[in-house]
Symmetry: D2
Subunit: 379 residues, 4 copies
């Protein structure tokens, strides 16, 4: 694995590195960790990389790794830069024969996303988008239960992603995470909707297997001086007639990261909270609530394959993130070995989900500006 971005002061780079190595399937062999070469070298040093595998630019990395013998050179590139710096390295990596893992949202805009999809299809290489929340065993279980029909026809979906950390103008203090996320040049057309709203959209569609067909959005910038939305409320409609609510916020003062989803069908309901990720609450009018728990009882093969520890030994954010990486790595290994990949490991988010996320963003922006109640989801 070669990394683009993820210098020492970046949050998400360290997450990717830990997630990648957790299951002993992936090794970091090189990187171009910053647009500042000095910072890149410091990061490489701190990570115990040999100096000759630390590059000044991602272009250097891709071109020079390509020249190394197979087996020695990196097998894939992982891209953990801010949104505006996803497309170029992804495109170049693919065009030079490297598989790609990329942080979400996939690109700066929908046009880039569509172009990237074209390239992935053309090259036939593997592309993984780290919608990490779909890596949790209880999310897998929820999806499996819906698919198995345990809830009957889905009627209602409530998905929420509230955070409080931008309740004040934090970007004015120079805090790195806040700065790029609220900067249109780096984040794109939206702030919170891109950063966390896309997770909500992705999770709702992943668990239910439904597609949003139209929505009605109300975006707000609550903090004076901010340039991008810090709060969003939406009504949703799905392709089977189900209705929904989606809200994401960065001004929900006091909230850490309680991403959650509730799904109600004809026969029962499901509820999952990211901050207590090993519990899936299954409710029916007839029998009340049952706590489905990671590692307990008869779970789907998908949930089991994404669990490392016995019941009651909690697995959490990094383990779920690692599940995405491991699925990608095992699929990649099968391809490198010329074997059939384990079908369960094929379930990682890819370029389709990336395009859909960018289309979601554009749809939300259009709806927010419209006086019409419903805006069709951009195909």
């Amino acid at each position: 694995m070669g990394m683009v971005g993820g210098s020492l002061d970046a949050f998400i780079g360290a997450v990717h590195r830990r997630a990648a190595v957790l299951d002993n399937e992936i090794e970091l062999v090189c990187g171009s960790f910053s647009s500042n070469p000095e910072k890149s070298r410091q990061t490489g040093h701190a990570l115990y990389l040999p100096p000759n595998r630390v590059y000044d630019t991602f272009e250097d990395m891709i071109l020079r790794e390509k020249e190394l013998p197979e087996g020695e050179r990196m097998d894939f590139v992982t891209i953990v830069t801010p949104n505006h710096m996803h497309f170029a390295p992804a495109k170049m990596a693919l065009e030079n024969g490297f598989h790609v893992v990329c942080d979400k949202p996939m690109t700066l805009n929908l046009a880039e996303a569509r172009e990237l999809k074209r390239i992935v299809e053309e090259t036939g290489l593997l592309f993984c988008l780290t919608h990490n929340y779909t890596g949790y065993p209880m999310v897998k279980e929820a999806r499996a239960m819906v698919k198995a029909g345990k809830l009957g026809k889905i009627r209602k979906v409530i998905v929420e992603y509230p955070q409080g950390w931008l309740a004040q103008l934090v970007e004015a203090t120079g805090q790195k995470q806040a700065s790029w996320r609220t900067d249109p040049a780096k984040s794109g057309a939206v702030g919170g909707v891109g950063d966390i709203g896309t997770h909500a959209e992705n999770l709702a569609e992943y668990i239910t297997g439904l597609k949003i067909t139209e929505l009605c959005a109300d975006l707000t910038i609550f903090v004076e001086g901010r340039l991008l939305d810090d709060d969003a409320n939406m009504l949703l409609r799905f392709d089977n007639g189900a209705k929904g609510l989606l809200t994401n916020s960065q001004i929900a003062n006091g909230e850490e990261n309680p991403f959650s989803i509730r799904v109600y069908g004809e026969f029962g309901g499901l509820e999952w909270h990211q901050m207590e990720p090993n519990t899936l609450i299954y409710k029916t009018n007839e029998a009340g609530a049952r706590l489905i728990r990671t590692g307990v009882g008869d779970l789907s093969p998908e949930a089991q394959a994404n669990t490392r520890l016995p019941a009651g030994h909690p697995e959490a954010f990094l383990e779920a993130f690692a599940n995405i990486y491991t699925a990608f790595a095992q699929t990649l290994r099968a391809r490198l070995n010329g074997t059939e990949p384990d079908p369960i490991r094929l379930d990682f988010p890819g370029v389709e989900e990336g395009v859909r996320g960018m289309a979601f963003i554009d749809t939300v922006v259009a709806s927010d500006k419209s006086d019409q109640k419903w805006t069709k989801f951009i195909e």
Copy 2:
């Protein structure tokens, strides 16, 4: 207290009776418990009322009680019939000099509500609408905290009232609670929105002190054969610029009655759940979550006045309902005694809240039918 409605098989009648007597301030002295005189008499007998104080019709009750000497006759009428039978007895009671307690929503439609408001103002009599959830000590505390500025300017409100009991066509089985609630002749223009959505609207405005100015609603009838909405999703806008979400549902399969509200301001957030009513969660980015609990520490006088037991001895639905009755009763007693009422006890919902609830219903129906995103709250 004389009761209209509330025969033995009615749910809410027994609730009102228990709530009324809990604090030893109110005595049930007479009633007209059903449109079926035989049923009314059976109910009166089961309640140990003397037969001559059990009436065949509410008209009888009002006219004959009026002839009894003061001190012996009922002081007020409480109306616990389905919605379509609120207006007539309320009007007649007021016009004959009786104070009134009335279940919510106040009337069958907005016109009746406005007319009732006129009569209350004209007669100068007391009118109490049992929006019982505002009687909880932790709801009082939440309102007091917002009023005291602890949250700063309110930015976002999420209020939810999901239930699952109508996930199937229960009314087809003849179940009494389901039948009248889904019958337009008895419930009015809406189903769930009137039954529980009005609680949500009332609680949001009560706690925040804000008014909804416009909304965007999406109503659904999910269960085939049903005549009124069983699910509602709405975007809200408030008069100070705050945004909000309101959802109520009766098809949220597996949900009992988890009415909840979250309010976020500049400086912090509040969260309250009706099913664990003695906890108010207060969150700030700086200090995390604190559990404010009934009976613990420095609480507002409003919360304390509505608490009977020491910390950790839970009070619940009937006690909160009783707080509404006791506030009304103490205000009435002050009036009867010619003394000043305790200002804290003046805080019970009245005819204003009733008109607002009916206007909310009409606004929701209008918005649901409209293609425009925003519909102004009907004044």
Copy 3:
């Protein structure tokens, strides 16, 4: 109902009054509310009692009520004084033909308890001890599940009653509740063990149907200047070979009243928390945890008979207390009417439980003083 004790500043008197009237089966008709006649009269006035039914002493009350015609005079006496004032009024009431409800622990010592048991048996009158926690629907459900064999043979019981309110020498401030509870003359040989430990003993035996056969206790007075135990830890052994832990504390700083019990059998476990009383957690290795909830699904007749409201409308402390009163009242009414009582309503704690509680106290004191590990439960 005539009340002994329970003046306006007493906590438990108001609890009994509210619990007694909640179900419209009992009316307070007279009282001797304090050893201070003036205070008794003030209380009677505040409760809207006619002055001639407010007595200076319990002896007066019993003798003069006895002279009133049947139907007018009180049917039973309820005793809500501190422990040292239970025996005398209970004895006199029974000897004059009045049924009795009595707060717990039943008497000041075991000798009084045994004497009272003798009198109850001799007179054949009804005697109810308000071990109120056994009135909760989910406690009834737990007992029914154990009885039905759902847990198999019981192996382990953990029962805890921690409170924090006596973490400092509160009695030195003159606080009434603290003062009598820490005064050996009024409380008896123990402090916390009598006040709350007896609830724990009673609940463990009530739910499991087992009897404690021996125990090993370690009592402590943590707060300097206090005269009675404010903390107790015990190992338990039951008559079927089950083992257990019991702890009660009044110095568990920050705890409100989280009385709880866990019971484990061959096939599953149960967990109940008084502060969230409408949930009973049922766990098995095979299926994980299920939340059994008041009002949801197939519950035992015992749970259903003790529930007033639909699912999700929480019932709490006063309602559970009322369940004890209503069971007693319906059993009494059946006797007065010469009919067979509803067997479900016969399930209220009585003089047997009272004797057992006092024997528990003596056993704990003996064990605490002993160097031997095990002390046999005093028969």
Copy 4:
């Protein structure tokens, strides 16, 4: 790092491997994974180790690695075998100049533990015992709060470690985890007390900084045919006069792994649950409960140093385990570099804790056999 034990079908080996590499400070370079050489080789292959670094026996590994040049050879041995196979490799590793990480409990008996302590002191090498639960940030915070005096003098400790997985005679099915844990030849004098009771003892002493001075234990074998205790209840006394309860169980049917501790002092209480490890509940009579959360607000340097992710991104079992490894690795690195170790990283459990754990086991066994209430903790 070279590993002893931890073949593919072992639970704890994989845990150690993941924990060791998570922070990119440690690399697995060799191993002797099983007493069965074939199994060892399969494991090494699956872990992508070069065949020449996979050894048939731990003796081989130690002797042959010693011959490798510094920088290439392993820096330390990690021992993840059943208890009876801890002492020999630890001793040999130390005597050949290798630092040691060892799973708990440290040895098969107290004599071995004392001997190991002697060797560690003699060699001056680093020794780390993986009492992993002390690696959680909120456990660090709890310890820091007690040390800072926020709770005042500690009065009461309740520590519980219930599990349900051995509620039936699982060892009869040949299940590997159950088999060695219930076999006296591999586990030692106790079953559950050694496996999980030692965690409870260690955590209680770690957080409070107190030492248990005497205890009163009641051990049980509930499952017929089992050879070692599957349930334990104990009264504790600490060196400052505090009292306590400790219970561990493997027959608490339906429990996963809800290890928990509550500590009460003069001024407040703390509560921590392993299954929701990012929350530390801090309670006072005055202010109720505050949820102290990983990553939120002003936390101790110890808690912060052991946290990787922002608030609300849960870290769990493997991360806490990794904190122990990383503390050890950074201390070892400082020693190898000849620099001063970060004092915060010196806080990992070592040989002292190991001896104390084995003394705890012997004390518990002695107490269980004794008729005396109190047995002094063996020094």
